[in-house]
């Protein structure tokens, strides 16, 4: 496994969090705090139509009546929602026509992040939409996608150019009233990606978005909407990083996926937000609502996530299996180290007949972290012949971390076949001794064993990202042994 070897090399070369740099770019911010005016400011900045402003305002008013959810196994000081900026954009006076016109400092940032943004790298075949703080900077490959009818653009552009699609689908999977953070997002979301795959089209390349929080004290509230029409297919990947800062930053995204008959969406995430330092200072609060709706028959939604960053992760990518014979999958690797707290899992809601779902969750806790899998498998009364298979494996490294598994199973149909398997293990002294006797150093041995533990999930990732993810596994566990 070359990646593992490289991991150790990388660990030696870079500081703990290699994405911890900041970029000094003038930005255009909304006033501090959150009021109806803030919402109007954001909407005006984006020259949005009246219906969307009303939609936002309704969400905002709703949000004022809601309370933060407290059921997750995470603890953090109260968040002052008035002490944050809800919109920050790099200052660019004119509209950009090509990559050459983008602020070179921004491009430099993306280069450091290793995003294939330059023309040369575009040949690698990945179309990228890059979101910097709140606005989308550039979307590559647009032309090639347009030829086959695929729309891949920043959300604000979709609102302008494809209002009928946005209005039809926005909030149709995650309604504005869904939960505290999703409602907040609905009020203030400022960017995100929009993807539309027309009927029968197999998207010719991986689509990819990179998110980065640069500005101090800003929250990032992106909203992603992917629609796969009948018989279409798309594979989508998002990657996330943020600079290293002492204060906590809020990330409350919403992702909505819709598959119609026979369509498939594969959504992969490699999340590496800044996790805070060893004492738990700083780091991203990641409160994200991701949900897919298998609206059509025989459709399929698959979530794959590799979560290594964030001080707090609160995230449950879910599938509503509405169409008959539809299928939902959730593959997850959640690694926590230092003082990180992860409460993550999935929900599989079986509504249609012959629907099936598969959950494979691999939680790795090290340091003083806490790692919880929380998942729901629910079977509706009319959902005949439902099948679910759930496998939750936890791996503990050291003796100061914890792992928890909280599976909820609700079935109203006696014909459902639901399987749940769970294991908790430690990296054994025998395994470490064996690897080291073969000449493999301590940290490399941990990375090797953990990568083995995660193999089922890593195999679900698109090839180039699987390599990246393997490296991340090693880096995030640095300092977890000894």
């Amino acid at each position: 496994m070359a990646a593992v070897r490289e991991t150790v090399k990388t660990v030696g070369e870079v500081e703990k969090y290699k994405y911890g740099f900041t970029t000094d770019i003038e930005s255009d911010k909304a006033p501090l705090g959150l009021t109806e005016e803030t919402v109007r400011f954001i909407s005006a900045k984006k020259s949005e139509p009246g219906w969307l402003l009303e939609w936002r305002l309704a969400a905002f008013r709703r949000w004022l009546t809601m309370e933060e959810p407290k059921w997750a196994k995470v603890s953090y000081p109260p968040i002052d929602f008035q002490d944050a900026y809800y919109y920050a954009a790099p200052k660019q006076s004119v509209k950009l026509n090509s990559l050459d016109e983008v602020d070179p400092k921004l491009l430099e940032t993306y280069k450091k992040l290793g995003i294939p943004l330059t023309e040369q790298k575009m040949l690698a075949g990945v179309a990228v939409d890059a979101v910097f703080d709140s606005v989308s900077v550039v979307t590559t490959f647009k032309e090639k996608l347009r030829e086959v009818g695929v729309i891949f653009c920043p959300m604000s552009e979709a609102v302008r150019d494809h209002p009928e699609l946005v209005q039809k689908y926005l909030g149709s999977v995650v309604p504005t009233s869904d939960n505290f953070y999703a409602t907040l997002n609905s009020a203030v979301f400022s960017e995100g990606s929009f993807v539309y795959i027309p009927e029968g089209v197999r998207c010719p390349m991986e689509l990819s978005t990179y998110f980065r929080i640069n500005e101090k004290q800003t929250g990032q509230f992106e909203r992603t909407l992917i629609i796969a029409e009948k018989g279409s297919y798309v594979s989508y990947l998002e990657g996330c990083t943020a600079p290293q800062r002492d204060e906590n930053q809020l990330h409350a995204a919403v992702v909505e996926l819709v598959t119609l008959d026979d369509a498939e969406i594969k959504y992969s995430t490699v999340q590496n937000w800044y996790p805070g330092d060893e004492d738990g200072k700083g780091g991203i609060y990641n409160f994200v609502t991701k949900r897919g709706d298998c609206r059509g028959a025989n459709s399929k939604i698959s979530w794959t996530q590799v979560e290594t960053g964030s001080a707090i992760t609160w995230k449950y990518p879910s599938c509503i299996l509405r169409g008959d014979n539809s299928r939902g999958e959730f593959y997850s690797i959640a690694i926590s180290n230092g003082r990180q707290q992860v409460d993550s899992g999935t929900k599989m809601i079986h509504l249609g007949r012959n629907t099936s779902s598969r959950i494979v969750s691999k939680g790795i806790s090290a340091g003083r972290s806490s790692n919880t899998y929380r998942g729901l498998v629910s079977v509706h009364r009319k959902a005949e012949n439902v099948r679910n298979f759930t496998q939750c494996d936890s791996l503990l490294i050291g003796d100061r971390c914890s792992a928890h598994t909280v599976p909820y199973i609700e079935t109203k149909n006696p014909g459902a076949v639901l399987e749940h398997e769970a294991t908790t293990s430690k990296i054994s002294d025998d395994q470490m001794f064996y690897c080291r006797q073969r000449g493999i150093g301590e940290e490399e041995a941990v990375a090797l064993i953990v990568n083995g533990f995660c193999r089922d999930v890593l195999q679900q990732l698109p090839m180039e990202f699987a390599v990246e993810a393997q490296k991340l596994v090693g880096i995030s566990l640095e300092g977890s042994v000894g």
Partner: protein, 251 residues
Amino acid sequence: MNMLEIKNLHVSVDGKEILKGIDLDIRAGEVHAIMGPNGSGKSTLSYVLSGREGYEVTEGSIRFKGRDLTELNVDERAAAGIFLAFQYPIEIPGVTTMTFLKTALNAQRKARGEAELDAVRFLKLVREKAKPLNVPDEMLKRALNVGFSGGEKKRAEILQMALLEPALAVLDETDSGLDIDALKTVAAGVNALRNPERAMLVITHYQRLLDYIVPDAVHVLSGGRIVKTGGRELAHELEKTGYAAYDADAA
């Protein structure tokens, strides 16, 4: 010069003394066998040579190629050329045998300041080493030792040894759990690795293995001490008399 020099070695585990003054010299090119009853300290000797934590040297010394071995940790010893073939090879779930071999070989090469092997050259090398040991490609693709039969596990151990080319190989009860055919394959693999630069220490309870891997010297370990040393004929003698006489000596 001796490759391995053990002088008056005392080793304790959890405060209990297991080895009580071992003296043993092995020269390059030699194969020595350690025989002894259960609980005599055979496995302890293999662990202390490889540097396993929890095996404390309380007295005496171990020198390997002139260096004080106790100054090196487990992986440094491996890179210096010490290999232990495990009695019970450990399962590494999700890590293919191929990946493990490549990671180990390149880790050692790197530790020695040599260039790492790329995928193509590595694959060629593995196949070349795997063939005589009857290790098919299919086995290399399976997770290391997971679901392997007793014979497969031991063949995988010898394959690792062939690939890593250690200066000193310690074989801990390599015959355990093998039927006669598997034993022959493994022994042939080991014999193919005998050469004037390499020393071997073969630890076994039964002399059967020594019919196939013929040693230059046989030592009887009992009660934490080497109580008798002789030529290969000593193994046959033991087969007839058993260890009872030596147990009495130790008590």
